[in-house]
């Protein structure tokens, strides 16, 4: 049975479900991040996004991000669900929940997780816009790149 905290799915995402996975009696805070499909990108009118993942490695990348966050914020429990397939404008592509006894660590770990997903998770956006389509190319996925990791940590303080 796979870890329910880290998932790649073609089903719609639900924030309550993801946050309930990590919430517990000793948590005074759950910070959630929901990434949505936006109707505009770089001046293009976006119609929908098609996400593709290299699923086994994507799930492992989430586990890795959790381990990295755990070194910095040991009190935080993290869950990451990423959707793949065609996603409509306004629908969620990713949901992150970070639970902790206190809010500062929860906010920080939640931010760290989304920054690292964008750096290393083997997931790709295929943008369909008015007049065409394009694969969005972001970061070279190198989890051992310490500079990238420092940049991600820098977003969280």
């Amino acid at each position: 049975m796979s870890d329910p905290r880290f998932r790649v799915t073609s089903d719609p995402l639900d924030v309550t479900t993801v946050s309930s996975i990590v919430s517990s009696a000793d948590c005074g805070a759950v910070a959630t991040f929901v990434g949505l499909v936006r109707n505009e990108n770089g001046g293009r009118r976006v119609l929908w996004l098609e996400y593709e993942a290299y699923e086994p490695l994507a799930v492992k990348s989430f586990v890795r991000i959790d381990e990295e966050a755990g070194e910095r914020w040991p009190s935080v429990g993290l869950a990451i669900h990423h959707r793949v397939g065609r996603i409509a404008i306004g629908d969620a592509s990713v949901v992150i929940a970070a639970a902790s006894p206190h809010r500062a660590e929860a906010f920080a770990a939640c931010r760290y997780a989304i920054e690292r997903i964008k750096q290393i998770a083997p997931i790709w956006k295929h943008e369909h816009f008015e007049g065409g389509e394009i694969w969005i190319e972001g970061a070279t996925a190198d989890p051992m790149d310490e500079d990238a990791r420092r940049i991600a940590f820098g977003q969280c303080t």
């Binding site: 997931i123 970061a139 070279t140 996925a141 190198d142 051992m144």
Partner: protein, 68 residues
């Protein structure tokens, strides 16, 4: 990018991931543009271009990612 989700190629024993990539660049010239941006995985684990390969290894080349 190669027009197929999976392709099988034979390389000399002990070849690196880089050698596998170079052979694909020979086959699909459009790959050349990605040589500096691509990363890789071997048997569903992150790897380096210097990682040596063994018979039956499953190599994935990852174009720049854009999840989230």
């Amino acid at each position: 990018m190669a027009g197929a989700p999976e392709i099988t190629r034979t390389l000399p024993e002990g070849s690196s991931v880089r050698a596998a990539w170079d052979s694909l660049v020979g086959e699909f010239p459009g790959f050349e543009d990605y040589t500096r941006a691509v990363s890789c995985a071997v048997n569903e684990e992150y790897a380096r271009m210097t990682t040596p390969l063994s018979d039956g290894d499953d190599v994935a080349f990852l174009p720049p990612v854009s999840g989230g």
